[in-house]
Amino acid sequence: MAKLPESASQTSGPYVHIGCVPEFAGLERGYQSQLGTSLRADLMGDPITVRGRIIDGMGDPVLDGLVEIWQPDGAGTFHTNGRGFGRAPSHAETGEFVIETVMPGAVIDQNGTLQSPHLALWIVARGINVGLHTRAYFSDNVADDDPILSMIEPTRRTTLIAQKGSNGYQLDIHLQGENETVFFDV
């Protein structure tokens, strides 16, 4: 079949919340169904919460960002019809995003290799020209020989691991700087 050049990416700009989470952006007449708001209700598994902020190269929190989540259920099975898809917008004053979901199960990939439980994350905001793919693993639920983490130099691996605390898991996304998050070309 004909090869077509892919459409170029452009920044989401500062108002991605209007388009993707209009109710969160304060639009009075939202949609009858808000997509990405029911991860925990849609998936079988143990409830968890992941909190964090997107931090820019000046050390400031990004206030206009959106984190999208894609994950399997607690047994490691991916679903259809929007189940397993989540959206966590940056809070307009604090920048905090909150992911209320279930602990994903380990995923068996095509070679029979086991991937440690993880959330696939996709991040957009003003100033991000191409949406950023990354992952969140869990500090108390990660294997030393995970096939993806093993590819990454140990000093940067920690940027992908949500740390368990008394208030759930914590993971900041650093766009630049000493702790720049590992992003993927996938």
């Binding site: 170029a8 209007i18 190269g57 099975t77 019809n81 995923v107 020209n129 070309d185």
Partner: protein, 242 residues
């Protein structure tokens, strides 16, 4: 069982660089490190899909979907339509497309947009559609206005509509912008010009489509979208519900 396929590598020569110095916001928000590639796994080869049942009756009609008391948004009435396909030329059916935009005066309905142009009480500025079996989509709206923005100079965005597009795989996820044929601001815009390939900018530029234009009613603009193609069959999976 459904067959999962590999996703073709992204062609970075068709996309803006992570840091495009003329677009100031990217200076502190574009990652410095190159992204790390790895062979597609189940996680990226799958992705969220949505049924037509998630849509409300007016989600595709921005002329009226936020209007009060039977009103309609102010501005040039337009219909935007096209086909979503992948890099192998296959139409992508049942894919969600979300759009957002400024009103005809160039003002967003957002508490952080303080531009002089007034809000339109009958215009919200967001809508969504799901592609048909042939990958086609269409929605109605008003043509958005150009607006000024802080980038260190006298910068004005060309009229544009923001598009969020889902494919079959999470790795195909795309956000982009649609411009309008003939707009002199495209050549002046640091965001549009962050794309290093002139033909790629041109492909984000919608064309006036007189054939689909409805006489005495609404002008049509044509905008086709292409997601990354697929590679070889990756593996059979146990995706539930397929």
């Amino acid at each position: 069982m459904s067959k999962l396929t590999d996703i073709a590598p992204r062609d970075f020569s068709l996309h803006p660089p992570r840091i495009a110095p003329d677009y100031r916001s990217s200076l502190s928000r574009g990652p410095i490190h190159k992204p790390i590639g790895f062979a597609t796994t189940m996680t990226e080869a799958t992705g969220p899909t949505f049924g037509h049942d998630v849509l409300g009756p007016n989600d595709h009609d921005l002329l009226i979907n936020h209007a009060v008391d039977g009103g309609s948004a102010i501005g040039p009435r337009i219909m935007v339509h096209g086909v979503l396909s992948d890099g192998d030329g296959r139409p992508v059916p049942n894919a969600l497309i979300e759009v957002w935009q400024a009103n005809a005066g160039g003002r967003y309905r957002h508490k952080k947009d303080a531009y002089l142009a007034p809000l339109d009480p009958n215009f919200g500025g967001c809508g969504r559609v799901i592609t048909g079996e042939d990958g086609s989509y269409s929605f109605r709206t008003v043509q958005p206005g150009a607006y000024p923005w802080p980038n260190g100079g006298n910068d004005w965005r060309p009229a544009h509509i923001h598009f969020s597009v889902f494919g079959m795989a999470f790795s195909q996820r795309l956000i982009t912008q649609m411009y309008f044929e003939g707009d002199p601001h495209i050549a002046l815009c640091p965001i549009a010009q962050s794309i290093p390939d002139a033909a790629a900018i041109d492909r984000l530029t919608a064309r006036l489509d007189m054939e689909a234009t409805v006489p005495m009613d609404i002008r049509a603009f044509r905008f086709d979208i292409v997601l990354r193609g697929r590679g070889a069959t990756l593996f059979e999976n146990q995706l539930e519900g397929t």
